[in-house]
Amino acid sequence: MTEVDTRIPVTVLTGYLGAGKTTLLNRILTENHGRRYAVIVNEFGEIGIDNDLIVDADEEVFEMNNGCICCTVRGDLIRIIEGLMKRRDKFDAIIIETTGLADPAPVAQTFFVDDDVRARSMLDAIVTVVDARHLGLRLADSHEAEEQIAFADVILINKTDLVTPQELEEVRQRVRTINGQARVHETVRCDVPLADVLERGAFDLDRILEIEPDFLGEDDHEHDDSITSVSISSEAPLNVNQFNTWLRQLVAVQGVDILRLKGIIAFKDDPERFVVQGVHMLLDGDSQRPWKTDEARVSRLVFIGRNLDQAALAEGFRTCVA
């Protein structure tokens, strides 16, 4: 038996203006799936969302006064989630729609930093909708477009009917270079089965183990500070103390560049899988469940960020082998 997680799952929808976020949101809200959602929209948000429970967000990004230089949170989300919990019986999950220009880091970090938010809700997935026609332009003129792809757990390359197969292939490559770990769907009008988008939780974390490390090698760099993904793995079990020390030091030094990290770790003499997640300098780790008997005890860690040195990360990871 495992303890039932009563925390409310939260899905974050990001994407540039016009990419199709609202289309996806309306599908989620109107399809007959029996789930009730509380929707948090940005106050400049679009009209035409039909839901019982809609809350306006103020996009208030607050720096934490705790000495952590990249530690920012969304003060409005902390307040809203606390308020929503007073009507906990009225919904099953929360969807947060961000503006096209929103930086996803403070949204994600809110779910790491605030203990009250963590106790009541869990970030299930960041879903980013990408406009296949305009991705190149967006990446060229905005920092946020790249970060939204980097932070994503699920990416919808939308409006594929409006580009040529060759253009689509370029978009695919760009997305994969930035984020080699997300689950990518190609859609016309965000027409993806909602089960592939919502409440993925641990299932998508397992996907880390399916990723071929070779695929995530250093691709053609556009410019030096472009975002890439690095995946490292070990078949030998790790030493828990060495791993914790290494990872903590790593994010303390390189946290500004590390947008996200996720891993599933097999520690020596530990029957449980350890899962770790991080945003910038913030880390969150927990024993998830016992390893299954037929499951290969492979440890794998995925980094998405800037200036990632694959060789150095792999070497550091190797020193953690027990």
Binding site: D58, E60, E63, G75, K86, R87, D115
Partner: protein, 344 residues
């Protein structure tokens, strides 16, 4: 101190009554001998020691904040429907203001100055004595974290991201005394004589300003956000929630808690979520994250159990003016009343 050999019977069984309002209790105010419970389902329940007398459906959503109306005959409520209501014990509901889709997260009122102040989004709105529509308002650069009035009801403190401000709420053109400190400031309290302003911070712990000059104080060591403040009747002690004990800061003397240690009381292994001083004695009612309620003293560890752990955190706690009755409510819709005058 003696060993605990006899299990004390919780006072709720001998002097009180449990209630089951069925929705999270956001706040409780007393109107005479009746407690008004403001709930997460938008309703207000009026209850006495014989149980719930009447339910009034007031807000179209959650009641986030409440205070006693200056006239003493009604509860003032702020909801996530953006409305401020006067909910009378006689069942009348009057809308005093509507703020669209902004949540009314804070409300304060003074029986002495007759002022009412409510916070919705980044704006604090004032109702002058007797007003049934907003009189004037003050805008801030970020959402208001908390509001507080001093004992005379003439000074208003507003906390927000990056600090707090002090105003004279009677005046629409009030000067503003800005107090800056990095980070996000949540709930706040003014000492009764307006000598200190204390805020709870997002990073845990308190920040304080000694007034009028605004000298900074930091009070740390909390395990959770402080959501509940209470001053004792002499304004010597400020009791605070947010740790495994009630943390009481001394505010007597010229510099208050600066360089001094707090008193600690009410340790029983659970996080303290709510505190409120008795109006006439050196006794504190304390609510915990496990649902227990106790009566504690300022300077020793003895306490009397009012109610046992229910599993749901105590979210509201209030004495009546005479200090003869206590009401509490929790996050899961449980509540209770204690009446020290009668034996149940």
């Amino acid at each position: 101190m003696s060993a605990d050999t006899v299990e004390q019977v919780p006072l709720v069984y001998t002097h009180g009554k449990r209630l089951a309002p069925g929705a999270p209790v956001s706040a409780i105010v007393w109107l005479g001998d009746e407690a008004a419970l403001a709930l997460g389902d938008g309703s207000v329940r009026f209850a006495g020691v014989h149980g719930e007398r009447v339910r009034i459906d007031a807000h179209h959503g959650v009641i986030l904040s409440a205070a006693r109306h200056p006239d003493g005959a009604a509860l003032l409520s702020g909801g996530d429907d953006g409305r401020v209501l006067r909910v009378g014990g006689d069942g009348t509901v009057t809308e005093l203001g509507a703020f669209g889709r902004d949540w009314v997260g804070g409300i304060a009122a003074s029986a002495r100055s007759k002022l009412i102040v409510a916070a919705a989004g980044a704006v604090a709105t004032v109702w002058l004595p007797g007003a049934v529509k907003p009189s004037h308002s003050y805008a801030f650069p970020s959402t208001v974290g908390g509001i507080a009035l001093d004992a005379k009801g003439l000074r208003l403190a507003v906390s927000h991201y990056g600090g707090a401000a002090l105003l004279y709420p009677k005046s629409a053109q009030s000067s503003r005394f800005a107090l800056k400190w990095a980070g996000s400031h949540l709930a706040c309290t003014l000492s009764p004589d307006c000598g200190y302003l204390v805020t709870a911070t997002q990073e845990l712990g308190l920040h304080g300003w000694r007034l009028p000059i605004g000298a900074d104080m930091a009070m740390s060591g909390y395990r959770a956000k402080t959501r509940s403040f209470s001053w004792d009747r002499r304004a010597k002690w400020l009791a605070t929630s947010g740790d495994a004990r009630v943390i009481l800061w001394p505010f007597d003397g010229k510099t208050g808690p600066m360089g001094r240690k707090p008193n600690l009381t009410g340790a029983r292994g659970a996080l303290v979520t709510t505190v409120t001083f008795h109006p006439a004695q050196d006794i504190l009612a304390v609510g915990y994250a496990d649902g227990a309620v106790v009566l504690a003293r300022i300077d020793d560890d003895n306490f009397i159990i009012v109610d046992e752990p229910s599993g749901a955190g105590v979210s509201a706690l209030a004495w009546n003016d005479a200090g003869t009755m206590l009401a509490w409510g929790d996050e899961d819709g449980g509540a209770g009343l204690l009446d020290m005058k009668v034996r149940a």
